[in-house]
Symmetry: C2
Subunit: 382 residues, 2 copies
Amino acid sequence: MADFNESVVLDAIRRHADGLSRVELARATGLSPQTVSNITRRLMDQGVAREAGKLNTGSGKPRTLLQIVPTSRYALGVHLDPAVITTVLVDLLGTVVAQQSRRTPSGGDTDRIAAGMAASVSALVAESGAGADRVLGLGIAAPGPIDAAAGWVVDPPELPGWGRYPLRDRLSEATGFPALLDKDVTAAVVAERWAGAASDSRNLVFFYLGTGSGMGLVVEDTVLRGASGNAGEVGGLGAGFSVRTLVDEAIALGVLGTEYTVLDPADAQGGLERLAELAGAGDRRAAGLIDRLAVRIGRGVCATATLLDADRVVFGGPVWQLLGSRLLATIEPMVASSPFVRPAHRTTVASTTLGENVAAIGAASLVLDSALSAQPRTLLLG
Amino acid sequence: MADFNESVVLDAIRRHADGLSRVELARATGLSPQTVSNITRRLMDQGVAREAGKLNTGSGKPRTLLQIVPTSRYALGVHLDPAVITTVLVDLLGTVVAQQSRRTPSGGDTDRIAAGMAASVSALVAESGAGADRVLGLGIAAPGPIDAAAGWVVDPPELPGWGRYPLRDRLSEATGFPALLDKDVTAAVVAERWAGAASDSRNLVFFYLGTGSGMGLVVEDTVLRGASGNAGEVGGLGAGFSVRTLVDEAIALGVLGTEYTVLDPADAQGGLERLAELAGAGDRRAAGLIDRLAVRIGRGVCATATLLDADRVVFGGPVWQLLGSRLLATIEPMVASSPFVRPAHRTTVASTTLGENVAAIGAASLVLDSALSAQPRTLLLG
C-alpha cells in the first residue's frame, strides 16, 4: 500500500503547480499527517519532490509548500503512425523536452523499421542529456488493431506487410527500457488527461483524426481499453475515416488534381492543405467534402457522448490539425443540440492544445500513468 | 483494508458453488494463508460462510471446503417500470426468494406511488420471513434520465408527471433500509453479472428492451455509469425504441386493430403478443416490423461492441421476452459478421436467463454489488 499512497500524494502535488503544504496534502488525500510526512520525505529523498517556499496562513507558523520536480524523471513515447514516426521525451508533467519525427518507411520490413524506432529512442535520450537512469520507460502508440496482452500490432490496415508484429518486446529489448503498447487513440486520451487541458475530466471522449479515425474513452476516471485493448473503433458509428479515401474523393470530384493521389499515407499532407485552403476560399465542393465528414464525425461523437454520459469531447490528430477549425464549426453545434438525452449536464467541445504529436505525447503519458498514477487495481493486495 | 480483503474472499467463495478450501482461497486471492484463515473465521462467525465437507487431495490431510450461506443475507430490489412495478427479495447469490408485481399507476401522483412501492417492499420482507436485520439494503432501478448523485428520477419520458423526484431518499425513509438508485439498464447488466450467465464476463453489453431501450455497459470488469449516471442511452445509435411507437406503427399499417392502441405502457403487452403471433404465423408485415427493429438494434449493438471492445452481448427486458427469439435470429448473424473490426476475439450473443424481472433482480444486485463486491475505489484509504 505504500506505493499506492505515494502515488496519491504525488498525484496531488503534480496537480498543483504552485505547491501544496503537508496539511493541504493530508486534507486532499485523506491520509494521516504522519503518513503524508513520511511519504513526502521519501519523495524528496528520491528527488521527485522539493520544498518550495512557505505559505503564510495568517495563524500558526507558515506552512512549507511541496512541489514536484518535473525533470527528476522522464518518460519516452514513440508513435508509429502510417505517415510519420514521432519520438518524444517528456518530463514528469508530460511536457515535451525533446522530439524527433521522420517519415514512416513504406513496405513491411518490420524488423528494420523497429530497429530504426529503437535507434531514434536511444538517440533522443542520449542527446537530451536526461540520463537513462531517470527514464521510467517507453510507451508505444500504434494504429489498431493491437493485441494488448501480447504487445503486438495485428495487421493494421494502413501498415501493409506488418502482420502480427511483437513491437512492444522488440523495442524494449533494443532500447533496454520497459515498454508499454496501446492504441494511438487510447494514448491520445491519456495525453489529454496527463498533459492537456482535460486533466480534471473524469468522463471524456477524444476523437482522433489521422490517417484513420478512432476514439480514446475515459469513463469515471478510467481509461477504457476493452477485452483486447481495441476499444475506440468508430466504424460502426459511421465515423470511420481514411485520409486516402477523402483525397481520392476530392480527386474524383475534380476538387484536387491527380497529382495529389495518395500512394502512401505520408503523401496526404499536401492534398489536405490544399483542400482546406480551397474550402476556406469558398470552394463549395471542397467545403462540402469537409462538412460531410464533420457531420459523420459529429453523429458518432454525439452517439458516443450520450452512450457513455461523457461531459467533454476533445479532438486532435494530424488531420485534425489541418481541417479541425472547419470541422469544429459544424460539430460543436451538433453536440450542443444533440436531442438524444435531455441534458443532465453540458458537454464541452474543444481541440486539443497538444498539437499534432498528441499520440506520441500520449505514448509517453502511458508510462507516467502506469508508474505514477494511483491505480488501485494493480496495487491492491501487493 | 480488512473489509476489502473480506470482500475478495467472499467473492471467491460465492463463485464456487461446490466450495473452496482455505488453500485454494489463498491461491485465488493472493492473500496469505493466515489472512484467509482470519477472514474465513470472521465470515463463519457472521453466518455468511460455512464449512461444507472435506476435499481429499490424495496427499496430506483432507482440506475443509468453505461455502457461502446464501440465506444468511438478503437484498431488496424494486423496478419502477412505466408498465409494471416489480419488487424482489434475493439471497446472497442473487436468487429470487420472493417477488411481487403490480401495474404501475398512471398519473403523476408520485408520493402515493412511492408510498405504494415502499409498502410492497416492507410487505415482501415481512411475508418472506427473511428478517429485516438480514436485509442489506434496497436497490431501485428506474428509467432514465436520473440524477445519480442526488438519487432522483428526472422527468422520465414514459413517466409523465414525475418531474424531478427524490425516489431514493423517499423509499429509504419509508422502508428504513439504505437505498441505491440506478438506471434500469445499468441494473440489468449488474444482474447479469451477479445472478445471470455472465458472471465471468469482464466486457459485456446488456441491451434492454422494455417500454424503452438502453444498454448496460461493463468494460474491464467495471460498470460504466458516466458523469451523471445516465450511460447507456442508445438514441444516438439509432437503436432507440418505444413500445408505443411500435404498436402505433403496427396499427397504422393495419397489422393490429385499433383496439391495441397503447394509452398507457401497461397496455402494450397484448399488442406485442399479437404481433409476435402474427409474425410467427407468416404475416409479412408483422415480421417486417420486428425485423426492421432487429436491424436497428443490431446496428447499435455492433457499433457499441466494437467501440467498447466487448466480447459478450446479452439481451433482455419485458419486450425482449415477447419478441426476442425473432429479434435474435436477425441480430446474431449481424454481430457475427460485423465488418468493423477484424475479430480480435469472438463476440457471443445470448438472451438473459433471468427473465422479465431482470431489472428488479438488478436493483437488488446493486445492493449485493455495493455491499459484497471487492470495490477498491471506495475502500482504498479507509
